[in-house]
Symmetry: C3
Subunit: 422 residues, 3 copies
């Protein structure tokens, strides 16, 4: 709290100064997590510029299906058109701006505004606007399109007119890992929307380390707590788990080689606009799924996979998503900013399209571990938000095992620099 | 969402630029509906300058009656004084600023502050302030008066020191339409306060067109859906209704002529400070009232009216009110801004002072159509507010039948220009 | 509400102008109570600079006890260390800023962050941070200390690096009044936290006069309503009470002299940074306590006091506290700002450490009068907040009996001037 005289005069100045002060290896200064103007700038520099994970193909299985997703102040409408292609539009009528679709809005041949019945096709064209004068040109009032890409069944949109380069190349490297799981034809078994009381970056940072994993007893049944540690840094108490990991890992590699599944780690988290990390990794106990004994939660496996024992394919993308893709099911997480101190976490569980609830899988068992883990994380994020909101907070040092948190912050600061230099 | 560097430096600059960019015939840009500073400027330029409809005489029938109404950040106290004259004051004690009256506060001879018992007369004079030193001059601490005018039983206040010219002239043209209904001696049968989740201008704009009237099935039993259409623009599907309208209208005109009731349309919605529209107009079916079959909702007619079949006298005023005055009852609507995205709609139903509830009218029947219509409008306003709040919203074109929406916006923009040029 | 053009360009300008306009003897202008930037400046100029009453020793009786208190945006952690000394720290982990302790957090040997298990001693030293690299210097990451002083059992903290001068001198004059009541060894009998819907200064101003005491029927059973009146100004209706006061006061003075208890009034409310008022004063009826008949609410007296009939020791400090210390119990009040229009009032009731609930005192009886009084005050503060929030509010004149309100405002304005001149 300083005398108002000392405040720089514009938000851009304040952000520029805070970016310039950023010390690599340390957490970000408080205003990045709490200030309304920093939040607005995050929307401009990150969420309105980058490719943002928002959904999975399986949420819109049929032509005419539509849903909407909020990205900060933007509302984006997703539809599957008559040619089964996914499309995205700004979710706002071209007449007087009414919102077109709220949440999931079922399925129908056209998109009809609820205010004055302006009617759009699934391709966004304005088909009908009642009582217009001669000379009214419908072609001028189609829905504003938003870039959309589906990568192995995962849906990304980009609000920028000119999306950042490099997405196609990243997608082409990620897709081979995903295709054996055939997520684009999967079925949504469950969804959850959890509002966390913290800045979106705290939600992401929390996801990028297992330094806090003692708080996740359910997850740690099968998730190796050594995740993120270099061999040399593994604490003594985690050595037994590490021994189990090494055995499971060796066995898995043999399986991957035998089945021809890509599995090697690619980690490019902070040196490119479309930054990501992908890896097939072992799970503990039965090694199949996030269950108390590690056995599969769904009897029907994804795609045509011949064995349940594939560990998990972990995919992390900047700025807002992660995915766990297993043999029996997959889970998609996307982080959507609501306000400087509030964030929505959307979680979607996918199974084989012919897997039957109650027969092949119990939905409670399927969701239990990650519902618990999400709630635990939300508590930690809220604790962090309250702490960094005070003037006494000072950025502190990341431990080596938090290197992916550092990578996230470094990627993020690079995006702010880009935006400040536009 | 733009880089903060591009933001003009003061709110006045931003408002001035947005006003300059306004395209006639199109809806307003997003910040007019969502921005806190634009909202504050609306209060300064419109609600603190213009004559604002806030109540009806019948809400304060007896000397000593008082009520309060909030106009944005202002609280105005209305009282009927000992000479039965209505007066308005700023609702704030001259001692340490405590609010004097909250909501309806019954009736009493004086106005006593609940904090330290400073006591004011109904004329605003400070009568008593306990424990003051010699030399304390009570005459310096009377309540601050607010301009008040009653027009045919409808109460308007003006917060400006110097009210805008033209109100008296407008009142003198409106009053002859109202006087036969004798609203100043009417009785309040019901009141409702509905908080709508949208900017006050969206509430007004929604009121100024029937392009959306398909959403109002109860209202459309008797309200002709052709309202606002020019003869040439009436859609085919509304032609049968229009034929009924023409017959009802011809019959009504004969009645008005026979009874000597003024009925011609005056429409001066955007070329003057006190802008209004007034017209006697037909209703469908029995043509008497807003009921399922169009028959009167109250058996005792207002004033000394000799017939229930008078259609409705529709009065619209800028910036914040409309009225439906029928033979059997009248309804007053006033729109009061709470925040950029929240608005209070006050609705008051009036009947003859001797009409007995349960005998002459059923209060549920009396209110049903406009309670339903208000709720439907609130849903549409919320839909519009959510849409225009996103950065992707662009002003769109009004249809010819929305000409009164355009007139409202044009009047409003003229008021902002006046304020910016002060 | 003025045109935005007329707004000075920075918050400091606006505050400086408002301070310059302040008229002694009149209430403060509206923005001091309602504006977010003025509120932030209050935090900087007052709550982050001055000694702030936050707790009593008795809330942390044992080594290892800890609690936290929020001072505006600051969270302060209070602990009693192994040497039984009270200490205060900023309640934020030095790693990634998580809040360390929420509310009362029981007792334990160390302070362990709930996020990544960084562990601090009760002296604030970082004892353990898991998985750090060689070269990590724990000595650099101890908890940030906050100045703490206990005065006769009342706990004050100062967030400034350099606390204001004069506190020790004030403490040395206050402590002799308090010591006979031995509050540092007392027991907490009850606590309440009441959120008032008003600015912190309205809560303080309300406490500093009895001009409104007609609103407190329970309190006025024993509290003389003449409090704050000069002899000459006492209204006629209060003369009988004043006669009783004079008799009780004469008797009490004899008791104080006999027992050697300091009792004379010290009133230095606006001419120093650590400003205060202290006085032993009479109570009505039995003269012992705040009960319907004035008899003690707790049979076991504080310290070794030989008689219950000691009236009340009233201690007021700027900016945020007052205390009533009686023979049988004591009550501490501290006012903590939450937002421009919301304030927390913490009230703590203390009794002798060996007094037994249900035997020596009934907790409901003990709290009844001040719970009722606090609620009544909260209603008045809310009334004032609503009134001063409107643009029509103008500062009004204080009556002579409100001289302590004027002293508070004068002290406050002096602090703002100091801060503006830094």
């Amino acid at each position: 709290m300083t005398s108002p005289d000392s405040t720089p005069s514009t938000p851009a100045d304040r952000i520029r100064n805070a970016v310039a002060r950023r010390v690599p290896g340390r957490s970000l200064e408080g205003p990045f997590y709490t200030d309304r103007e920093f939040f607005d700038f995050d929307i401009a520099a990150v969420f309105a510029r980058q490719w943002i994970a928002v959904a999975v193909d399986a949420e819109l299985p049929e032509p005419g299906d539509r849903t909407s997703v909020e990205i900060g102040p933007y509302s984006v409408l997703l539809v599957r058109d008559d040619e089964e292609k996914l499309r995205a539009f700004h979710n706002v009528c071209r007449h007087r701006g009414a919102r077109l679709v709220e949440g999931d809005d079922g399925s129908a041949g056209n998109l009809v505004c609820g205010y004055h019945k302006w009617t759009y096709g699934l391709d966004g064209r304005l088909l009908h606007a009642p009582s217009q004068p001669a000379g009214f040109d419908r072609a001028c009032f189609g829905l504003a399109p938003v870039h959309l890409r589906s990568v192995g069944g995962l849906v990304f949109v980009c609000l920028a007119e000119q999306p950042p380069a490099g997405f196609d190349e990243a997608a082409s490297r990620i897709e081979p890992y995903l295709l054996p799981h055939d997520l684009s034809r999967a079925k949504v078994a469950a969804r959850s929307e959890l509002v966390e009381e913290g800045n979106w970056k705290l939600v992401m940072e929390n996801n990028r380390e297992c330094y806090h994993c003692d708080e996740h007893p359910e997850l740690l049944r099968t998730f190796f707590p050594t995740y993120g540690y270099s061999e040399a840094d593994i604490p003594l108490r985690l050595r037994p788990a590490h021994q189990r990991y090494l055995r499971a890992d060796a066995e898995l590699r043999a399986t991957f080689e035998r089945l021809g599944l890509p599995y090697t780690l690619v980690e490019e988290l902070d040196d490119r606009s479309t930054a990501f990390r992908i890896q097939r990794d072992a799970l503990d106990l039965a090694g199949e799924s996030f269950t108390p004994d590690g056995t599969a939660a769904c009897r029907r496996l994804l795609g045509d996979l011949p064995t349940a024992r594939l560990g998990h394919l972990a995919l992390h993308l900047q700025p807002n998503s992660w995915f766990h893709v297993l043999a029996d099911h997959a889970i998609a997480f996307s982080v959507l900013p609501l306000a400087a101190d509030r964030t929505l976490l959307r979680t979607t569980w996918l199974v084989h399209p012919e897997a039957q609830e109650g027969v092949d899988y119990d939905p409670d068992t399927l969701q239990r571990v990650w519902r618990a883990t999400n709630e635990q994380d939300a508590r930690l994020v809220a604790l962090a938000q309250r702490g960094v909101s005070g003037p006494a907070y000072r950025p502190g040092p990341y431990a080596p095992t938090e290197y992916q948190v550092e990578a996230f912050c470094s990627w993020y600061i690079a995006r702010l620099r880009e935006e400040l230099n536009r």
